[in-house]
Symmetry: D2
Subunit: 457 residues, 4 copies
């Protein structure tokens, strides 16, 4: 996952972009960057780590200009060196090309081979650099035709923002895997992965960029073109954005995430009603489903796990000693609430199962009499080729364990998953989601070579 | 406020102390330090900023020894230079004296004058250094007598931990303003400001140190003595710890904070029941009272404000530009929930009123139809001399404004405070609290000179 | 100017390369880099500032491998950003290409235009990057033919070392403007700008790389090829290396620099014998000519100016206040030696004249009765297009001032320059030097566009 | 050794003090500090490492005030932690006391015991802190009497500058072990360890502070008092300052160091004339004696060893690998000069012998036919208690080796030391020097306890 932002036509574009990074920090904690353009000069700032920690005002102030794009990185391809921080920025024939990309391409190998054979030198190990070389190689007379020729060559998941000549460009792949929203701030337009970024900037949500759409923004004018041949193509929005990844205050895929998650909890309560003293959620994403679950059943909702707001750098790369304490330091169950009680614990999803097991262990040590766990999505069994960084297939606990075996592994008294139909039934865009991580049915051809490795464990 | 930790008899004492800092980070974000002692050598680590960010494993590993004390600082006296980071550590006659202190002394001026006239040189501007000089000046044959002679000379609020010769010492002033808890980990004892620190360390809560008690821990032995002449003295626990400062998963002053806050909300609902579509709390400390309020009245509870977990350094000393966006970046109301709704907003307290006004403005901009605000304590009107860093009296909005005027200032449709009696009635240690910030009735003599300045605005 | 090093076939190649940077630090203080290769992986370290300060052992240790190239930078083209630190390193078709270059190309503009039109994206603003793109564009079956095709396209001054597949390559332009020496260390070969690097490494000096020669070193085998069509071409060694730039302990252009400079001083004494109490040189490069001058005339030689070995970073970008003191802090005349004395001051060259004026002023303030200045080269009047970073032509004091006017400007009692013939007569390779900075007669076509700008002031 | 500076009555006192540190950097490379005072506020800057590298303009600019003292540290007592950087600065009864000290006290243990028993807490492990506590303990009505009472209690070597109330104070012990010079800059006075500091500041040398003298400078007024009872006491200037430590452009102990060292070389030539092809000195301190030696005998003087001006941080704490190369990287003999020659090598002194052996080995590897070494002082056999940081006595090669054995160890063809009488005969203050490191005859009582340890190996 990654977060992307684009700002046009604002006298402090880089500061607005920085507010966008603040809002989208959850989409990538590894590194971040901003590129600004003032009509003649381009400025860039890139840092490892959290943008909110490492970008200071003095540096942002140097990013002058009325246009900016920004990126916050969660590595899926490319190693974690400085050069692999986006936006990617090059100067070609004295013009700036800058790219920020969220998603994963699926025909990467073919494009690498072709470009290098023609003499292109890749400077990063990110698939996103392919956009830059295609832009440099493709004749660039007419802007819409240039962009259509470029995007027609790439396959897979991409929501992307570009600084190109004097234009801000936004584009979304024909399946629409990743979100991309359009906002308005004063005279200018904003592009952002999630609408919560507009709230931060005090900008207005306009609409989502359509799958297959390219918007070209120049000054206060917006032109929209579509990739030809994709009209009516089936869409494949990432359901995991709704379940876990996006912020609860965002509106994407035509829905509000907080409300979607409460509805998942309500549906879970209908499918799996459990009798208990109270309902609690694993902070933060489990809280909303827990609230929906409790309200649906009329059970008390308690915030019986305290989240520590100070999870600092020390725990980012901890030794074994600190790792042993990590779960508890991050989330501490309140003994005075839990002792002797029968509880329903709501979690958004289970990936490896190890984290859930640790959390359940903590709740058990706090004195819970019975622990019933309800998950607000089905079992995750298959890898994602579109940008979610799941572990290798063999590490997905549900890949070759039954629900009963998973329950035994994480040591709960009972375990319930939401059904696939139940999950999709509460989404507004019901039929338009990719559920491949639950079903293994991929909406596009998947990359050659990688499939065996990933699919057969 | 500050947080203090002491560890005895653990082979990785500094790591345990560091876990304590993690748990107590909320008690002081300005700086932190750890002193360890291995029987022959003393090691120290001090850093500005958050311990959780700035203390790395390599540095902590160098703090060898089976004993350690630690401190996290929230400046109340002393400027913010490196030398004003605790624990204070000196070597005197080849013995280590190390001190970590939470609270404020009230006879500071008298003690400074006496000590300097006798040739003592103060190295810091913290009142806590007085303990060190008193220890160096006082004949130190018998440990309990030595400590009683030292503590008998200081007045005011102090919970303190010391490394002294081969002992870990903990002491609490006779009124018991600040909490200090005793835990057990393996063979050894732990001291910590709040019991949540024991959860982090997987230590067991034993009891609270009594007001006026001094505990001397050597190896796995604990000796307890009391300051003479204070038996039956009235106690003055800080009620603001319960309302706002302590962590919800802590047990101090004989109560669990989460439950206290829920009871404050329930009592608030009884005193001031409001009809509305739902109840929401200002994260985090307002959430618990909001839950109590909603459950008492049977109203829906919604988490309609999202707290951003990434409030980084950039916003710590922001420019005007970023300051304008600060409230919203930190706490974002969910428009899809609030639009057109009548809401009850629960806040733990109002100090200056400016923060509340900003938050209410944000909720209003998210589309709330009616906003009714309920505060889970009475109006704060007077300064604290015991360690809570309120602004100058004139800046306390309730000091010379009526409730109606405060409501107008923060622009709510209605505003209700919990009564003093209501507040105290839900505490387990009802009669033992200091409520001076609400009433102006101080339980001790207050410092000369400062009273006029602070009290008359 | 820049310094370059190449190491083949040594188990700690990067450490050997680092010793080379130590020896060649005087050739570039702005930045430095090392690239190592261990047969499968490539490692790189680049830092602004002095290599000797900023490269620490821990970092060098990570540069594993038996081959390495290194570069120390003195900017002549390209701005001073991190990306403009050499060696330039790219991965192309999974192979490493690394380049370190000393000199300036003269057909840069033509090559830039051609390459960008074909889609190449330049990542730096250094002309040296051209080598990389030519290497990527040119079919690379047979190594010698590949390299000859690449080097045949570039014109101007270059001594260059490359890491290419499993080979270390060294090449020198057909005129041989810049030095490049071949050494032997154990089984392997070393390439370095100056032979003093071999002393540091305890390597053996073998010979200089010939003008127009390309050496391809694989393991312990060396193959030599020559650019066709340049046999018998006239050479153009940079005489300024001998006068000022190279280290006195180096042997380049078939001569030892210390001895060349002493001979320049002896010749100066023959051309311009001055009667005085003693002879002193401006440290360090003036000292050797001063010693030759004094020995030739039988005058006492005194080291009457003390060079401060601690010219730290503070003076690198000083304020006006510190700048006022800079000359004296760097070089302090000894009053007790100079007071009331008539002195001959030997300087290697005069560029702007401002430095010499300051130094003479210092000597005058130390009490000198008479100051006679002798310069061990002719007046510098023209710009260099081959890598010496002279100021713009108008700033060269001798460009439009007579010797008398220069003497007046720097305020000496008399001023003497060595003659062109005298200078060349003491060189072993008499007829093979470029003297364009004295005569304006350039041995190659100079770059279009830049000539007017630079030549007409 | 250490260097100290004091500045009074200059509007940019800290910058002037910084220039003094530049000049005195050779007296201590370990750490440095500046304290300034502007009549009401005191500012301080302390850094590990070289002042010239680590003090930048921005930081110096913050040191406002018309008075300043500064110190550059070469550790002799006290470990190398930040707190052991001078000037020592405390605030006592709201007044600043700041101290910078060069030398070693000899009654340290007695003073420590007395002060701690009275309750003083030492913050550093430097004997210099004793001055601070004595100042705080001693009634301070009349400034001269106060200072006389303080200095009367300490014994040993001290040149010291103080900031005290509104005065700059300088004092030198009655034997005058360490130099301390008085200069004038505009209306104000300067104090500095060596007169070369005045050259840097463009200040005028006035005179040396007398042994046993205390100068109290207030504004542009200077008052001088003497410690009673020391009139006519025999002096004990450190001869090692003349031989090795001081800068050649300094005038201390009533002599110019460059000329003293040339005279040592001349005297050495008279005592030990050697026939050889030429004379060379080990840079830098050996060069001056070499020049005197060569001139006396009419032999050619050659600078046949090149000193690398870039000995950076990497070599400060090198690994074994770099250590093996250290000597050569620092000082490289010129093979083309030395090969096949018979040479006289002049060195200022031999301490352990290991450095000389390495250097001789390098000269031998450069091809020298014969190497004759002459040392411009007698054999060093005893420890120094007055501030020179010799190794333990057993490590002094001359402590229990004959001249012949030393010659064998360092592998020279012949070795000659200057005689004690010869050395002292060329000093202007002949009878006033301490020669204890050559003779073991100490001019004061030496510290108890330490003598056995140090003297018996």
């Amino acid at each position: 996952m990654c977060g992307i932002v684009g700002v046009s036509h604002h006298k402090e574009a880089s500061k607005i972009a920085f507010l966008g990074l603040y809002a989208l920090q959850h989409r990538g904690e590894e590194a971040a960057g901003i590129v600004s353009y003032n009509g003649s000069e381009t400025h860039v700032l890139k840092k490892s780590g959290l943008a909110v920690d490492n970008f200071d005002e003095d540096n942002i102030r140097k990013l002058t200009g009325h246009m900016a794009i920004a990126h916050t990185r969660y590595s899926t391809t490319g190693s974690s060196t400085t050069k692999n921080i986006q936006p990617i920025l090059v100067t070609h024939r004295k013009k700036t090309i800058a790219v920020a990309h969220n998603g994963n391409l699926t025909n990467t190998e073919e494009l690498y081979a072709k470009l290098e054979n023609e003499g292109s030198i890749f400077q990063t190990s990110m698939d996103s650099e392919i956009f830059v070389h295609l832009l440099a190689k493709t004749p660039n007379g007419d802007m819409p035709q240039w962009l259509i020729k470029v995007f027609a060559q790439v396959k897979g998941a991409y929501s992307v923002v570009l600084l190109l000549k004097d234009c801000l460009v936004g584009a979304r792949d024909p399946q629409g895997f990743r979100p991309l929203c359009l906002g308005k701030l004063g005279d200018g337009y904003i592009l952002a992965s999630e609408s919560c970024a507009f709230d931060m900037m005090k900008a207005e949500f306009v609409r989502e960029i359509e799958p297959g759409e390219i918007v070209i923004i120049k000054g206060n004018k917006l032109e929209s073109v579509f990739l030809p041949g994709f009209v009516g193509e089936s869409r494949a929005f990432c359901v995991f954005e709704n379940i876990y990844f996006a912020r609860p205050d965002s509106r994407i895929f035509n829905d509000n995430i907080y409300q979607v998650r409460k509805r998942l909890g309500e549906r879970l309560a209908i499918e799996h009603p459990v009798k208990a003293d109270f309902v609690m959620g694993i902070p933060d994403s489990g809280l909303y489903a827990a609230l929906g679950y409790a309200q649906q059943l009329g059970l008390p909702f308690e915030m019986a796990i305290v989240r520590n707001h100070y999870i600092g750098r020390t725990f980012i790369q901890p030794s074994q000693f600190l790792r042993d304490f990590r779960v508890r330091v991050k989330l501490n169950p309140i003994q005075d609430m839990i002792k002797g009680k029968s509880v329903v614990v709501i979690e958004d999803s289970i990936v490896r199962g190890t984290t859930s097991r640790s959390r359940i262990e903590e709740i058990r040590e706090a004195g819970a009499k019975e622990i019933h766990m309800c998950i607000s999505c089905p079992p995750i069994k298959f890898p994602c080729f579109y940008g979610i960084d799941f572990p290798s297939t063999g590490e997905l606990i549900a890949h070759n364990k039954t629900v009963k075996e998973v329950a035994d592994f994480i040591k709960v008294d009972s375990l319930y998953y939401l059904s696939l139909e139940g999950m999709l039934s509460v989404m507004k865009e019901k039929g338009n989601f990719c559920s491949a991580c639950f079903t293994g049915k991929y909406p596009t051809q998947i990359p050659k070579n990688t499939d065996k490795l990933k699919l057969e464990i």
